[in-house]
Amino acid sequence: MSETYIYLAILLTAFATYLPRFLGVFSSDFVNEEGKLFKFVSCVSYGILAALIARIFIHPVGALEQTSTAIRLLAAGLTIVVLFVSKKNVLFSSLFGVILFGILNLYFN
């Protein structure tokens, strides 16, 4: 794989990443914060984000792929419990989730 090929891949990746952002700004002219279209786009955005997170936990790629699905789901489930117990303290809950996952992965994977 040549250096030029990698640079071209990076440029194409940047283009394919910026394009939806560019189109998003362009389309946002037709959306106002109080309208129904805004709520529709909110639904789709949160839906895609939730799907992305579910995919990372259930079918991850990269290094997480080598870890147990049961451990990932157990850590995620208990983190949600801690999030509610801690009155939605995101910082505390996130750290709890990572430490729990680290310990479970260390001893049971």
């Binding site: 952002r21 700004v25 997480l64 870890t67 949600i80």
Partner: protein, 231 residues
């Protein structure tokens, strides 16, 4: 200029330096190591995050390079992976819009729209006055971008230093943080329904069409919730 780089900008920078920045930097740190193992050099790793700032697309690029995929493969795969940025941008811009600003400000700012900055802004915008949101988001997004770029380079140079178990725990921080942020703001019935439906649909659709599962699950869930709760 002063109106943009004001106290709201600084507040955005400080917000990014907390858990959003830590969790994102951990993921880009891991990305730097992945880039090294994929055959990229330090400058290429740096450039990738600098101009193509969106982690899932960058991972797809690295993995396609590993399997000697064509440039067309990379273009299509990255576009599909990052297509989620379209509704996210459409959703965010009306929230931070100021009528006095020229359009190019938003085209520039959109480079900083990624999951971490989007989730943080959408979860907190009602605590920030409308006039302050653009500057706040610019501070938030640009700081996250700089942190991510630096973390990619540090990850590249320190690949292999951390044990595999610590490394994988660091990667786990980002999805856990996203999950906590989303669950913590589930207070509207249409969003709650969308998230639940999407979490159920995504793994099922993955078995049918892995490449499209995220976009399809999110879109179907969003459309169903909209028609049940809003329309």
């Amino acid at each position: 200029m002063n109106k943009t780089f004001d106290n709201n900008f600084k507040m955005g920078c400080f917000a990014a330096l907390g858990i959003p920045g830590i969790s994102l930097a951990a993921s880009f740190f891991a990305l730097g190591a992945l880039f090294k193992n994929s055959g990229l050099n330090a400058i290429q790793s740096f450039l990738s995050t600098l101009i193509g700032f969106a982690l899932p697309g960058q991972v797809v690029m690295a993995e396609t390079l590993i399997v000697n995929g064509t440039l067309l493969n990379i273009l299509i795969a990255v576009f599909l992976t990052n297509a989620r940025l379209y509704p996210m941008t459409v959703n965010l811009v009306p929230v931070i819009r100021q009528k006095s600003r020229p359009r190019w400000h938003y085209y520039f700012l959109s480079h900083f729209i990624a999951v971490t900055s989007w989730v943080y802004m959408l979860s907190n915008y009602d605590k920030i006055t409308k006039e302050s949101r653009f500057s706040f988001f610019l501070g938030l997004g640009s700081t996250l971008w700089i942190l991510s770029t630096l973390a990619t380079v540090v990850g590249f140079y320190t690949a292999g230093i951390l044990s595999a178990k610590v490394f994988v725990a660091l990667i786990f921080l980002n999805p856990i943080y996203f999950m906590c942020m989303i669950v913590s703001v589930l207070n509207k019935s249409h969003i709650v329904a969308t998230v639940f439906l999407s979490v159920i649909l995504a793994p099922i659709l993955f078995l049918v069409t892995p490449d499209w599962s995220v976009l399809l699950a999110g879109s179907i869930s969003g459309i169903i919730s909209y028609f049940i709760f809003i329309r």
